[in-house]
């Protein structure tokens, strides 16, 4: 397995972990919060809210803008 495949596999494992955590959280049988709950908690202060939205805006700039 070359370096390219290892790197892609790493991203795939992390993505699978994120999806798995969300699915687990939605079952309600664990103490793990859903993604929406995490974001709501972080965004309940102005610093958190603006910070997250700036991160989102940066994502758009990074992929589409100069």
């Amino acid at each position: 397995m070359n370096s390219h495949n290892v790197t892609v596999l790493g991203f795939a494992i992390i993505l699978a972990g994120l999806i798995g955590t969300e699915v687990t959280a939605r079952t309600g049988r664990t103490q793990v919060p859903t993604f929406a709950q995490v974001v709501t908690r972080v965004m309940h202060t102005r610093t958190g809210r603006v910070g997250i939205l700036v991160g989102w805006a940066w994502l758009g700039l990074h992929f589409f803008a100069k």
């Binding site: 070359n2 370096s3 390219h4 790197t7 892609v8 790493g10 991203f11 992390i14 972990g17 994120l18 955590t21 959280a25 664990t30 103490q31 793990v32 919060p33 993604f35 929406a36 709950q37 995490v38 974001v39 709501t40 908690r41 972080v42 965004m43 309940h44 202060t45 102005r46 610093t47 958190g48 809210r49 603006v50 910070g51 997250i52 939205l53 700036v54 991160g55 989102w56 805006a57 940066w58 994502l59 758009g60 700039l61 990074h62 992929f63 589409f64 803008a65 100069k66």
Partner: protein, 271 residues
């Protein structure tokens, strides 16, 4: 918030009148100011307004202790190093403003507590997440169907238009900056929807999301540092940007990605 899910120490620190009623959810909407609170806040604000440049700089520097601000500053550094000075500049401006706001909030809270001690008033200080109040009252429920339809139609038109421009062109840049700035301004004004704020998470929850987020950041950083240089992508060590290049090189691909970006933004603004 379920009262029984709050640690005893946290519950006892709250004054009786500001404690959520049994079964009533805690919302993002700031607590209504009582005259006493107003007096304290006003006195605290007057006492703690920075006057000199050094004082302002210190307040801003103290705001960087907030994790969100620190993460944004790290992104600024990496963005500038990766050869995107415009991204870095815009992000730096907002991050500094945010750091100042966070520093001021922390200072006001401290001053309000001191003022409260002098007052010997009842209970502790009612702290609002939005100093000075939110710019608008949040909605109680979901947006109306008519508004959702208009939003979806607008998002489609926007994505098709911006997606038709060449990637990294000035028209695309202007479009993305416009929408991004609009969302940040709305975020600064306060929440748009009244929501139940979840109580503090358990260690398991923090560990699950925190470790995965950290792993994603470190893996991306490792791929970035594996490139010949920060501005040149590598097939051997592809970053997320490199992996999405084939999708974003076509107009339909950009349209789909823009729709996903807008969808994520709408989800966040509604939190």
């Amino acid at each position: 918030m379920r009262p029984d899910s709050v640690p005893r120490t946290q519950r006892s620190a709250q004054p009786e009148e500001s404690r959520p009623e049994e079964g009533r959810p805690e919302t993002a909407w700031p607590a209504t100011d009582t005259p006493a609170t107003e007096r304290r806040t006003s006195r605290a604000a007057t006492a703690s307004v920075p006057t000199t440049f050094t004082d302002r700089a210190l307040v801003t520097a103290s705001g960087t202790r907030q994790p969100v601000v620190a993460i944004l500053l790290a992104i600024v550094v990496v963005t500038v190093m990766a050869g995107k000075p415009l991204d870095g500049l815009l992000l730096a401006v907002v991050t500094i403003a945010l750091a100042r706001d966070a520093g001021m909030s922390a200072r006001h809270s401290g001053a309000a507590v001191r003022s409260d001690e002098v007052d010997n008033a009842r209970g502790s200080v009612e702290r609002s997440a939005w100093a000075g109040g939110a710019a608008w009252p949040p909605r109680a429920g979901r947006p109306r169907r008519r508004h959702i339809s208009l939003g979806v139609a607008g998002a489609l038109v926007y994505s098709l238009t911006i997606g038709s421009f060449t990637r990294m062109s000035w028209p695309a840049t202007a479009g993305v900056i416009g929408l991004g700035a609009g969302a940040v301004i709305i975020g600064w004004g306060g929440p748009t929807r009244r929501r139940e704020i979840p109580s503090r998470f358990t260690k398991v929850g923090i560990l699950a999301w925190g470790s995965l987020s950290l792993a994603a950041c470190l893996w991306e950083l490792a791929a970035l540092l594996g490139q010949p240089n920060l501005e040149q992508s590598s097939y051997t060590h592809p970053t997320i940007s490199t992996l999405t290049d084939p999708l974003l090189s076509t107009s339909p691909g950009r349209t789909i990605a823009l729709l996903a970006w807008i969808g994520l933004g709408a989800f966040l603004v509604e939190r």
